[in-house]
């Protein structure tokens, strides 16, 4: 039910914004993206960086984000969360320890470079690696916390013989990197057999990036919303595969 309400409100917010002043809003967004392109592409890839702890009884999870990382942002992506230590195995006070890692490569950039005369070359990719600790906190509730390093590289060479503009904003060639070290804190609830609900907060120590999310995941899939209050696109609905073994 809460998923439905949240979806309706996000749709409502979208319409609210679009009807307000679409051109001005789009120009601001483009200017923000052009100011820090690698940061913008990092935001587009962030939804594929899965930080949920490995389920109790599973050794690892294999994840792939379909929406929005693969479609429409064309990131070929995959991530892997491996449980190094199960909670309580050696000592009851030691939390579960997972290592998380993954990558994303934007094939759309290569396609654009091959198809367009304006773009000489484009290469956009990134990876993440982190450690996630999780603890039973109360009945059917785990908290998780940890650290994640995220890196994105974005390179675009535009044809020097032309002027390039997008919604009135000049676009130039760039080669930039964006790396962020996130502190993560989240809570996971077991709603039913193989049905989880989670809420989490990530705070970047290097660039004060903020991401918070609410997600639902089960035996096969995960879905939810990530919020980027300082981002170009503030709300990302997502859907992907999350398989536990």
């Amino acid at each position: 039910m809460e998923r439905l309400i949240l979806g309706i409100f996000i749709l409502f917010f979208g319409c609210f914004n679009l009807s307000a002043d679409l051109k001005s809003y789009a120009e601001q967004s483009v200017a923000k993206a052009i100011a820090e392109p690698a940061r913008f592409f990092s935001e587009l890839r962030y939804d594929s960086e899965v930080i949920f702890p490995v389920n109790s009884g599973k050794k690892y999870t294999f994840n792939m984000n379909f929406l929005p990382s693969l479609i429409p942002f064309t990131y070929l992506n995959s991530s892997f969360n491996y449980c190094l230590y199960k909670e309580g195995k050696l000592h009851t006070s030691l939390p579960q320890i997972d290592i998380a890692g993954g990558f994303g490569y934007m094939i759309g950039a290569d396609i654009l470079a091959n198809a367009s005369d304006d773009v000489d070359s484009a290469k956009i990719y990134g990876y993440h690696i982190g450690l996630i600790f999780s603890d039973s906190f109360a009945s059917k509730t785990r908290i998780y916390y940890g650290f994640k390093h995220s890196y994105t590289s974005a390179k675009l060479d535009l044809s020097p013989s032309k002027n390039h503009t997008l919604l009135g904003v000049n676009v130039n060639s760039f080669e930039t990197q964006f790396s962020e070290n996130y502190l993560i804190f989240g809570v996971e609830f077991l709603k039913d057999l193989n049905k989880y609900w989670s809420i989490n907060l990530s705070y970047g120590l290097s660039n004060q990036s903020i991401v918070y999310g609410v997600g639902w995941y089960g035996k096969w899939f995960m879905m939810g919303f990530n919020f980027y209050p300082e981002g170009v696109i503030q709300i990302h609905p997502y859907w992907g595969m999350r398989l536990g073994f």
Binding site: F13, Y145, Y203, Q208
Partner: protein, 386 residues
């Protein structure tokens, strides 16, 4: 970095064993995420808000306990802004407190470190803003309890440093002026007395802010020998009442703020006849607050009415042309906030918020700091409290 280290150090306190088996640790977490849209006149702005606190209370023995709290708060383009409608802020802080029981009373000593960062607009960063500051300090409290009533005495000290704050006026006038920051550094002291008796609660506080570098401006545009000093007196009185199933907490707060700093109004960079305003920042502020709360099943309805009036003592208002008029500046803000929340499970809830703010002032010069506007805000969010 301090947050990361403290988080790692506090890992084991979240274990179920320590909180349930021996009851020496009591953990808590409090997180709320709000994402909304704010409309000021004809401008729409995305506005997010995060409040998060994680901590624990460790009971060493019957008399001594230790409390630690880490918090991260973010406010993006707030409804009731301080300096600019586009200002965003991130505040991270750590507080460690030692509590010692003395009979039925309690002595508390805390240390605090906080880092507050601001960002103007969406493209800038949180690193270079002139209002970025760090606060370090300690506090002492003595709480006297009697059944449900209590009396508390408190003292608080903070050393506040602004590494980027510089003298813009001097930078414009003097090209050789070296920007070393720290102009706004100050020492903050607060003494307060709180009393709760029956259904009534009250607060009396004295705040003192001594600036270590900032000097008082003279009418010729030079700085004098006196350093800036701000004082304020706060008085709050309120009532907790339950009428049928509705909880209400009406309160009134009066603040008398006095500053020895003056102001020189330049209409432009080339203005050769600036207007001098003595004690430009001193004011009296009156705040009325009436919050209601009604719970039914797993739902909660909250309504809050707030009215604030700030009367400047020596500062005259300006017309829309930036000229001073004979009337003194008076700022008024009225806000109505309605929220509905529904519990999802034992520790989390989903919330919808609507807020309306009407701001008006005798000062009609709104170029740098809007005072005459109305604002609508609608938001959704989640709250977790354990």
């Amino acid at each position: 970095m301090i947050i990361f280290l403290l988080t790692i150090l506090s890992l084991n306190i979240f274990s179920e064993e320590s909180s349930i088996a021996d009851k020496r640790y009591i953990n808590y977490l409090d997180i709320s995420f709000i994402q909304g849209i704010r409309k000021i006149e004809n401008t729409y702005l995305d506005s997010g808000q995060i409040n998060s606190s994680f901590g624990f209370l460790y009971k060493y023995d019957d008399k001594n306990s230790f409390f630690a709290n880490i918090s991260l708060d973010y406010e993006g383009e707030p409804v009731d802004f301080k300096r600019s409608i586009n200002e965003r802020s991130i505040n991270t802080s750590f507080t460690g407190e030692w509590r010692r029981s003395v009979d039925k009373n309690m002595f508390r000593f805390h240390i605090n470190y906080s880092d507050e960062r601001f960002k103007e607009g969406s493209i800038n960063t949180f690193k270079e803003n002139i209002y970025n500051n760090t606060k370090k300090g300690f506090g002492l409290n003595y709480d006297i309890s009697y059944v449900k009533d209590f009396l508390s005495f408190g003292f608080l000290y903070r050393k506040i440093e602004f590494p980027n704050y510089t003298d813009l006026l001097n930078e414009i006038r003097n090209q050789n002026y070296s920007n070393e920051g720290g102009l706004y550094n100050n020492n903050f002291y607060r003494f307060d007395v709180k009393l709760k008796y029956l259904n009534y609660f009250s607060l009396l506080a004295f705040n003192l802010q001594n600036y270590t570098n900032q000097k008082v401006l003279n009418n010729d545009g030079t700085y004098g020998n006196d350093k800036e000093k701000n004082k304020s007196y706060d008085f709050k009185f309120g009532l907790e009442e339950k009428i049928f199933d509705v909880d209400l907490y009406p309160s009134i707060m009066i603040t008398l703020y006095r500053s020895n700093q003056n102001f020189l109004r330049f209409k432009s960079v080339s203005d050769i006849n600036p207007v001098f305003v003595q004690n430009a920042y001193s004011y009296n502020e009156y705040k009325f607050l009436i919050p209601f709360s009604y719970s039914f099943n797993n739902n909660n309805l909250d309504f809050e009415f707030k009215y604030t009036q700030r009367n400047y003592i020596d500062r005259n208002a300006r017309n829309s042309n930036n000229d001073y008029i004979s009337e003194k500046q008076k700022d008024r803000k009225t806000s109505l906030t309605f929220s509905f929340s529904r519990k999802i499970n034992k520790i989390s809830e989903f919330v919808i918020i609507y807020s309306y703010l009407f701001s008006s002032s005798t000062n009609k010069y709104d170029v740098y700091f809007p005072l005459n506007y109305n604002s609508n805000y609608i938001a959704i969010g989640y709250k977790i409290n354990y």
